[in-house]
C-alpha cells in the first residue's frame, strides 16, 4: 500500500469542508483541503448569498471559537399598496408590527410562532449527530431511534398530537386557518418553500419551515444575519483558523477521482495527474458528483446508482445582481427597511401560481424575489435579487430565458421602486445552470439537493449513506447533501468530522 501523506483529504473548501477539516485538525489529524476554484468558500459567496444563519454554538465550540461579526437582518414583506409588514424575530416588536393590520393576526402569530419554535427545537435536537439507521441491529442506532421517539413523546399529549398532524401538512392550510392578512400569509409561505420543489399548497411544507427554523435560532424571521464585511469574512475566518490548525490548503486543484485500492479510498488524483494519498477522504461535493465523479460509477452497485440518479437536486433559484449608482428608494420604505431582507411574495396564491409555472420548468412573468442591498468593495451599492422557482435547465434553455427573467424581475421591482431602472449600472445574472458550472454543484442546487421529507434525515442523501459514509470504505461526505442539509449551518461538516473520528480512533 502506498504511503499516506495525510490523515484526511478534504475535497472542496466550502464552509462545510472547512468546518470538517478544522475539527479534524484540532484532534491532531493531518489534513489537506483540495479546492477546485481559486478561492475557498464555495457557495458562501456574496454573489449567491443574501443572508446567513449564525453558526450554532455546537459548531463554534467544536471549532474552538470563531470570530465573525453577525449583524441581524430583519425581514420586510413588500406590498404594492405600501402597507409593508416588518418582522424581526423579536416577538414584542413583531406583535406590534402585525397588530397595525390585524389584532387577531398578531396574537395568532405569537401563538403560531411559539408552537413552531417548540417543534423546530425538537427537530433541531436530531440535527447535531448522524441519523440512526433502522434495522441495522446496532444498539446505538436503536437507542437514537428510541430517544427520538421519546423526545417527541415528551412534548406532551397535546403538542405531540399537533406535531404528528403538522409533519405532513401544507403551509397554506395552516396559514389560512390562522391568519387573515394575505401579505403575512405570503411572507411565511415564502420561507416555507425555500430549498424545496414545492408550493405552499404541497404537503410537507410545514416541516420544511420547521426545518429551516431549526437553523435560524428556532425563529421564523429571526436568525437571519448579514456578515459584517461580506460573506468572505466567514470564509476568511475559517481559512485562517485552518492555517492556525496547520491544515494545508491547495486551490485551483480539481480532483478528478478517488484512488481506490483493495476496495478502499486511499487518496485522490487531481486533473493534472498529481496524486495525494491519505487515510481517509472526505468529499464536500454534492452527492451526485461524489458518487458519479469521485467514486466513479464503475465502482458502484447498480441499486446505488439508481438511488443517486433519482436523488433530486435540480436548482430552483436564480440570482440577479444589479449594480446601482445610488441608493434606491422604495415606496414607503425608510433607510433601515432597505437593510432588511425585502421579499416580494404578496400572497399564497401568488407563490402557488409561480410554483405552477416552475413545476414543468417554465418561467413566471411575475416572479417571487428576495432583495438585499449591499455595498461592494468599491463602495458601490448593489442590489442582490434572489429569484425563486427559476428552474435548472429551464424550458428553451437559459440562454434564451435569461433576458426574459431579468426583464420580468426589473418590471416587478419597478412597481415598488419606480425609479430603479435609472440607477442600474450593471447586471449580472446567475442561473442554476451557471451555479452548476461555476461552483461545481450538479443541478445547481444551493442545498446540494431538495429539502423534502423523502430526502431528509436517514434518507439524506440516499438510504445507506446517511451517516456521512459513502459506499466506499474510507470515503466520507460532509456537504449539504448530507444530514441535516444545506442552509450554511456548518452542521454537516461538524457531524461528518465526528463520524470520521469515530471511524479512525
Amino acid at each position: 500500500m502506498s504511503q499516506s501523506d495525510y490523515d484526511v483529504i478534504v475535497i472542496g473548501g466550502g464552509h462545510n469542508g472547512l468546518v470538517c477539516a478544522n475539527i479534524l485538525a484540532k484532534k491532531n489529524k493531518k489534513v489537506i483541503i483540495v479546492e477546485a476554484r481559486s478561492t475557498c468558500g464555495g457557495l458562501l459567496d456574496d454573489q449567491i448569498i443574501n443572508c446567513v444563519p449564525n453558526f450554532s454554538t455546537e459548531v463554534v465550540n467544536a471549532l474552538g471559537g470563531l470570530s465573525v461579526k453577525y449583524k441581524p437582518k430583519s425581514t420586510i414583506a413588500l406590498s404594492e399598496t405600501g402597507q409593508h409588514i416588518r418582522l424581526t424575530g423579536n416577538q414584542h416588536i413583531d406583535h406590534r408590527s402585525i397588530a397595525t393590520f390585524s389584532e387577531s393576526d398578531a396574537d395568532r402569530y405569537v401563538e403560531f410562532h411559539n408552537k413552531m419554535s417548540l417543534f423546530s427545537k425538537t427537530l433541531g435536537s436530531f440535527m447535531m449527530s448522524s441519523p440512526p439507521r433502522v434495522m441495522n441491529h446496532n444498539y446505538s442506532d436503536y437507542f437514537k431511534l428510541f430517544k427520538l421517539g421519546m423526545n417527541v413523546r415528551f412534548l406532551g399529549k397535546k403538542n405531540f398530537n399537533e406535531f404528528a398532524r403538522m409533519i405532513g401538512l401544507n403551509i397554506a392550510d395552516e396559514l389560512e386557518d390562522n391568519f387573515e392578512n394575505t401579505l403575512l400569509q405570503g411572507l411565511i409561505a415564502h420561507d416555507s418553500i425555500i430549498g424545496s420543489n414545492l408550493g405552499p399548497r404541497s404537503p410537507g411544507t410545514v416541516i420544511n419551515l420547521m426545518y429551516r427554523m431549526a437553523n435560524h435560532d428556532n425563529s421564523i424571521f429571526g436568525g437571519n444575519y448579514e456578515i459584517e464585511g461580506g460573506c468572505n469574512q466567514l470564509t476568511d475566518a475559517l481559512v485562517s483558523l485552518a492555517e492556525k490548525n496547520k491544515i494545508k490548503i491547495i486551490t485551483s486543484a480539481k480532483v478528478s477521482k478517488c484512488i481506490i485500492q483493495d476496495d478502499r479510498a486511499i487518496g485522490v488524483e487531481l486533473e493534472d495527474g498529481k496524486q495525494i494519498y491519505g487515510k481517509s477522504v472526505v468529499s464536500n461535493a454534492d452527492p451526485k458528483s461524489t458518487y458519479f465523479n469521485l467514486l466513479g460509477s464503475e465502482n458502484l452497485d447498480t441499486d446505488v446508482k439508481r438511488r443517486v440518479k433519482h436523488y433530486r437536486s435540480k436548482g430552483r433559484v436564480a440570482k440577479l445582481i444589479l449594480d446601482l449608482n445610488s441608493i434606491p428608494s422604495f415606496n414607503n420604505c425608510d433607510e433601515s427597511d432597505l437593510e432588511s431582507r425585502m421579499i416580494i411574495a404578496p400572497s399564497i396564491d401568488y407563490i402557488e401560481e409561480n410554483y405552477n409555472r416552475s413545476k414543468f420548468d417554465k418561467l413566471s412573468d411575475e416572479p417571487i424575489i428576495e432583495l438585499s442591498l449591499q455595498e461592494n468593495s468599491e463602495g458601490m451599492k448593489r442590489l442582490n435579487v434572489q429569484v425563486q422557482y427559476a428552474s435548472y435547465k429551464v424550458q428553451h434553455g437559459w440562454d434564451e430565458a435569461k433576458d426574459q427573467c431579468i426583464n420580468s424581475v426589473i418590471k416587478l421591482i419597478k412597481k415598488y421602486s419606480p425609479e430603479i431602472e435609472k440607477s442600474i449600472e450593471g447586471k449580472k445574472f446567475i442561473s442554476p445552470d451557471d451555479v452548476e458550472i461555476d461552483y461545481n454543484v450538479s443541478g445547481g442546487h444551493w442545498h446540494h439537493g431538495e429539502i423534502q421529507i423523502d430526502q431528509l434525515f436517514m434518507l439524506r442523501p440516499i438510504p445507506g449513506a446517511s451517516q456521512y459514509k459513502t459506499h466506499l470504505d474510507g470515503l466520507y461526505m460532509c456537504g449539504a447533501g448530507s444530514h441535516p442539509g444545506g442552509g450554511l449551518s456548518g452542521i454537516p461538516g461538524k457531524n461528518a468530522a465526528q463520524e470520521i473520528l469515530k471511524g479512525t480512533n
Binding site: M135, N161, E162, D177, H310, E352, F360, Q452, D454
Partner: protein, 555 residues
C-alpha cells in the same frame, strides 16, 4: 300522580324507541358496522336521512330503464373478509372484474392495460420497451406495499400519547409489525426506507424512477389523484395510488371490478344481512341532533321530531357533520372541536351519469379490444394532470380534466336493457367552492356540457346517443349524500390525516370525546373508498367495550 304519569310515559316511550345501538347513516360503513353488531346479537337500528339506502354506494333509476351507480361506481377495496363474514353473496353481491383500461391519445393511438398480464406487457411495449420491463419491477414494488399495508387496514391505530398498556402494546404491535416476520417474511432495512419514501413522495417523482414515456406515467398516475385534492406533483400522492391499488378481486391484488347491479347491490346485500340478524334500517329519518346527558350520548332526535334512545350511538357521518352539525359544540372539548374544524375535507371530484341508446364509438380503441372494457381516460401526461389540478386550486373546474369513464353495462347485463348502455364519468378536478359566486343550476349545466364536449372529442357519435344525463358537483354530494364539501373519502388522504391522525390525533380509535358515541365513517382509519374496514373496525371496538365476544374472519 302527575309526575309519576310523566315518568311512566317517558319510560314507555323510551322502551318503545330504545335499542342497543343506533347507527346514524346507512352508508356502506354504517351498514357494515350495524351488520357486525347485529350478528353479535345486538339490537341495531340504522337511521338514514334519504328515502333510499346506501349513502354513496347506491344504484338509482333516475331515468326509466337505466340504473345509475350515481356516486361510487367501481368495487375493489371492499374487504373480502367482510364479504365472507356478512355472507354478502347470499344477499345478491357479485363482483365482475374489469377487462382492461385504456388511455386515448389525441394522435389517434391508445395505451391499454388488460386483465391478462402478457397482453398488458405487449401493449406497453408498443409505447416503450423500457417501460414494459420497468412495469414488472414497478408492479412488484407496489404489490409489496400492498402486502405491507393490508394487515394495517384491520388494525385500530394505537394512541401514541397514551400510557395505557393497551395503547403501548398497540404501538409496539405497530412497530413490531415492520420488524417481524410476517406475510412477507420480514422486511429488510432497504424495504423500510422504500416504504417511508413511498408514503412521502409525489407520484410524479415516484413514477419518474421507473418510467420514461409520458403516456405510461399518465395512465398509472390517475389512481393517485382520484378523489383527492392533491396533484401528481404533491408529496403524498404516491400513497393515494396505493389506496386505490390495495383492493383485490379474488386475490388478484390491485384489480378492479363492477358490482353486479350497480354499487347499490353492496349496500342492499349489507341491509339484507342486517335484517336477517334482526336489525333494521329506517329511511327518511334525518338525525337532527345527538342527545347528550352528563357527557354521555344517550340517543338521537330526528328532524321528524322523533327521539330514539340507545346504549351506544355510532355515527357514519363524516367527522365534521358528526361533531359540528349534529352534536352540540358545548358538550365537546374545545381543542377537539378546533381539530375537527381543521380537518381537511375538500371536494375535488364531479360526476356525470349518462343513459346511452347504444355503445359510443371511441375510434382510438380498435373495435373488440378488451382495453375498452374498463376505465377509459384521455389525459396524456402528468403535466396535463397537474394543469387540471392548478385549475382546481384557483377555484375553477379543470378545463382539461382527468376523467375516469366506464360503461358498466358492457359487462353487467342488469344496468340497462340489452343494447342500451349506462356510462359513468368521474371527473377530477371540480371545486366545491366555485370561484366567483359558487355553484348554481346554470353553471352546473355548463360544467356538464363542458365534460360532454371533452368526451365528444374522442367519440363522434357520443352526443347523439345521450338519452339523459345527471350532473353531480361536489355541492350535490354535499347536500344530497351528505359528504361534506363533496369529498368522496370523507376527509383527504394526506399524511396528516392517516393512521393515528385520522380523523383527529388522539381519537383514532373509533371512540369520541362523548361516552357511548362512536365513529365508523371513512373519516376514520383506514379511510375512504367502498372498503367497509372503518365500519368493521368500529364495530370491533364497540363490541370490545361491551365485552361481547366477536367472531369472524375479519378479526
Amino acid at each position: 300522580m302527575d309526575i309519576i304519569c310523566v315518568i311512566s310515559n317517558i319510560y314507555r316511550f323510551m322502551a318503545k324507541n330504545s335499542h342497543d345501538v343506533i347507527v346514524i347513516g346507512a352508508g356502506h360503513n354504517g351498514l357494515t358496522a350495524a351488520s357486525y353488531m347485529a350478528k353479535a346479537g345486538l339490537d341495531v337500528l340504522v337511521l338514514e336521512k334519504n328515502e333510499w339506502i346506501g349513502g354513496a354506494a347506491v344504484s338509482r333509476e333516475l331515468f326509466p330503464g337505466w340504473k345509475y351507480s350515481n356516486c361510487s361506481y367501481v368495487c375493489s377495496l371492499l374487504r373480502p373478509e367482510i364479504m365472507r363474514d356478512l355472507e354478502l353473496y347470499k344477499y345478491g353481491l357479485q363482483v365482475i372484474p374489469y377487462e382492461g383500461s385504456a388511455t386515448m391519445m389525441r394522435n389517434g393511438d391508445y395505451y391499454a392495460h388488460y386483465h391478462d398480464h402478457d397482453m398488458t406487457i405487449k401493449s406497453i411495449r408498443r409505447h416503450s420497451l423500457k417501460d414494459a420491463e420497468a412495469y414488472e419491477r414497478y408492479s412488484r414494488d407496489v404489490l409489496r406495499q400492498c402486502k405491507i399495508i393490508k394487515p394495517l387496514l384491520k388494525m385500530t391505530p394505537p394512541d401514541l400519547t397514551s400510557f395505557k398498556p393497551k395503547d403501548i402494546f398497540g404501538a409496539l404491535e405497530f412497530a413490531k409489525y415492520f420488524a417481524a416476520k410476517d406475510e412477507l417474511g420480514g422486511l429488510g432495512e432497504k424495504e423500510i426506507y422504500d416504504t417511508i419514501r413511498f408514503y412521502t413522495m409525489s407520484i410524479r417523482d415516484y413514477l419518474d424512477e421507473y418510467f420514461e414515456s409520458d403516456i405510461t406515467k399518465a395512465h398509472l398516475a390517475g389512481s393517485a389523484i382520484i378523489g383527492t385534492a392533491l396533484g401528481p406533483c404533491s408529496p403524498g400522492s404516491a400513497y393515494v395510488l396505493l389506496h386505490h391499488y390495495m383492493g383485490e378481486v379474488d386475490g388478484s391484488v390491485g384489480s378492479w371490478g363492477y358490482s353486479r347491479g350497480g354499487m347499490g347491490s353492496i349496500t342492499k346485500a349489507m341491509t339484507g344481512c342486517l335484517k336477517a340478524h334482526g336489525g333494521d334500517v329506517k329511511p327518511n329519518n334525518q338525525v337532527a341532533n345527538v342527545i347528550v346527558k352528563n357527557g354521555k350520548a344517550i340517543g338521537v332526535a330526528t328532524t321528524n321530531g322523533d327521539e330514539y334512545y340507545a346504549k351506544k350511538i355510532v355515527s357514519n357521518l363524516d367527522v365534521k357533520r358528526t361533531f359540528l352539525t349534529i352534536t352540540e359544540e358545548k358538550s365537546l372539548p374545545s381543542d377537539f372541536v378546533q381539530k375537527v374544524k381543521n380537518f381537511k375535507i375538500r371536494g375535488s371530484s364531479g360526476k356525470l351519469n349518462i343513459a346511452l341508446d347504444g355503445l359510443p364509438d371511441f375510434p382510438c380503441i380498435p373495435e373488440g379490444d378488451p382495453g375498452g372494457g374498463g376505465d377509459m381516460h384521455f389525459t396524456e401526461s402528468i403535466e396535463e394532470m397537474e394543469g387540471a389540478y392548478d385549475d382546481w386550486k384557483r377555484g375553477e373546474w379543470s378545463k382539461n380534466p382527468y376523467v375516469d369513464m366506464c360503461i358498466p353495462s358492457k359487462s353487467d347485463p342488469t344496468m340497462a336493457s340489452p343494447g342500451k348502455h349506462y356510462m359513468s364519468v368521474f371527473i377530477q378536478y371540480v371545486p366545491f367552492n366555485l370561484a366567483n359566486g359558487g355553484w348554481n343550476e346554470e353553471r352546473k349545466q355548463a360544467f356538464g356540457k363542458h365534460i360532454i364536449e371533452c368526451i365528444s372529442a374522442f367519440s363522434p357519435n357520443f352526443k347523439d346517443l345521450i338519452n339523459h344525463y345527471e350532473v353531480r358537483t361536489p355541492l350535490d354530494l354535499h347536500n344530497e349524500v351528505g359528504l361534506t364539501e363533496g369529498n368522496i373519502f370523507q376527509g383527504e388522504l394526506t399524511m396528516d390525516q392517516l393512521m393515528f391522525n385520522r380523523p383527529v390525533t388522539g381519537y383514532a380509535q373509533y371512540r369520541t370525546p362523548l361516552k357511548n358515541m362512536y365513529m365508523c365513517s371513512s373519516s376514520t382509519h383506514p379511510g375512504g373508498g367502498v372498503m367497509g374496514a372503518p365500519g368493521a373496525n368500529a364495530a370491533r371496538e364497540l363490541l370490545l367495550d361491551m365485552n361481547i365476544p366477536q367472531k369472524g374472519n375479519y378479526y
